[in-house]
Symmetry: C2
Subunit: 220 residues, 2 copies
DNA sequence: GCGGCCCTCCCCCGCGCGGGGGAGACGAAC
DNA sequence: GTTCGTCTCCCCCGCGCGGGGGAGGGCCGC
């Protein structure tokens, strides 16, 4: 059975984006969506998701309140992954103190998002994107962080995969990449597939987008 | 008969790049390549290209000399499009005075390159990428520029095409774009094909790259 | 030594993609 | 009124792409 996720965010666009990222990933499915924290508890009871991706700032009930509500009122509660736009969002502290299992920046690349969901689902407690590490340090120390770090690094691209992604991001076809690297096209396909899986994307087009969005390749 | 182009550049990589861009464009074919200006005159005589894309800086004979040589010694000479890396390349002035029909920055996006080739082939004299306009102004005023400008704008994407490109650049498939825009997938395919043709690229992956490289979409 | 990862290559298969045509409807420009 | 561009939709067709398997060799670390 796939890993199920409940999305809670007042912006439809964010929900669509998260859904796209997660649905593209084999083994993860989005069980449902909610536009406000107020709707979370009944939805969790109904859908029994493995993970709740929870926005912090929402109009009726914010992510902190909603996290508390879920953990207080639901038996065998799901993991709660707090999603925020700003890395210095003070609400994040509150959400983590309320019992959230991890937090994630909205501008995280797809691979990080997927990893984050997988990690909290598997019980690793906290996630720290590089940009937030210093903030985390000031927050107080961190259980399970080393494990999470190692896991994130395992998900990083190998040298060859990175090389292939660079060429994909320059518009080359598999055959052209094969020629350039002096290997067979099947080998290139194999690397491309690995890259797609690790980035959590569906096709090479989305891989190029991820490459630009993550700074892996830069315009100009 | 297609528009034929002779590439003259000492860097193989540049020739490969230009060839890829131009060959991807229907109606344009690369008739030949030369690695130095010294080889241009015989090649022009042999191949009778419509356009010569001429690097300025080359080891044996530079683009200025080569331009002069072609125009002086070849009857019914091809159009000459000067290609340069630096927008403030002083050699460009010389090449233009020597009779070149236009100039182009190497970092121009594929669509601009294709447009430039088409424009000089059709007789429009000078091309001014935005980044070079001020330089052009200081150079002295400009015949045929208004015509070129209008033509470049005609080659720009329509509203619908731009909308489709934006969605392509967010990783959506044709079917997803169709759903989003509430039209048929055939319609989307039609728009995508137009976009590819106008950008002078081969597939949606290269279109996304062009979108990022041109600033049409921005990372983050 | 043995497991694990990486790189390499192979098979089959389905489908999305893109090229090549064409065509109708609408509105703006002439 | 006619022309032109845009947007819409349709056909056929080939191929590149990506998923699903598997498999072998090399290198490193335990």
């Amino acid at each position: 059975m796939p890993l199920t996720v409940l999305l809670v965010d007042d912006e439809p666009l964010v929900r669509v984006g998260l859904r796209a990222v997660l649905e593209a990933q084999p083994g993860i499915s989005v069980a449902g969506e909610a536009a406000d924290g107020a709707a979370v508890v009944p939805l969790v009871r109904q859908l029994r998701p493995d993970v709740v991706m929870m926005d912090v700032r929402m109009p009726l009930m914010d992510g902190i309140e909603a996290t508390r509500a879920v953990l207080r009122t639901v038996a065998d509660p799901p993991k709660i992954l707090v999603v925020t736009t700003f890395e210095n969002d003070e609400y994040v502290y509150g959400a983590l103190r309320a019992g959230a299992d991890g937090f994630l920046l909205k501008r995280a690349r797809p691979a990080e998002i997927v990893n984050a969901v997988r990690l909290v689902a598997e019980g690793d407690s906290l996630l720290f994107p590089a940009a937030v590490r210093q903030l985390a340090a000031s927050y107080g120390e961190t259980r399970g962080n080393a494990g999470a770090r190692a896991r994130l690094e395992r998900a990083e691209l190998t040298d060859r995969e990175a090389e292939v992604l660079r060429l994909v991001s320059r518009g080359l076809s598999n055959a052209e990449i094969a020629e350039r690297l002096v290997v067979g096209t099947e080998t290139v396909k194999s690397h491309v597939s690995s890259v797609l899986a690790k980035l959590g994307v569906r096709d090479r087009t989305q891989a190029v987008i991820a490459a630009y969005e993550s700074g892996f390749v830069a315009p100009g």
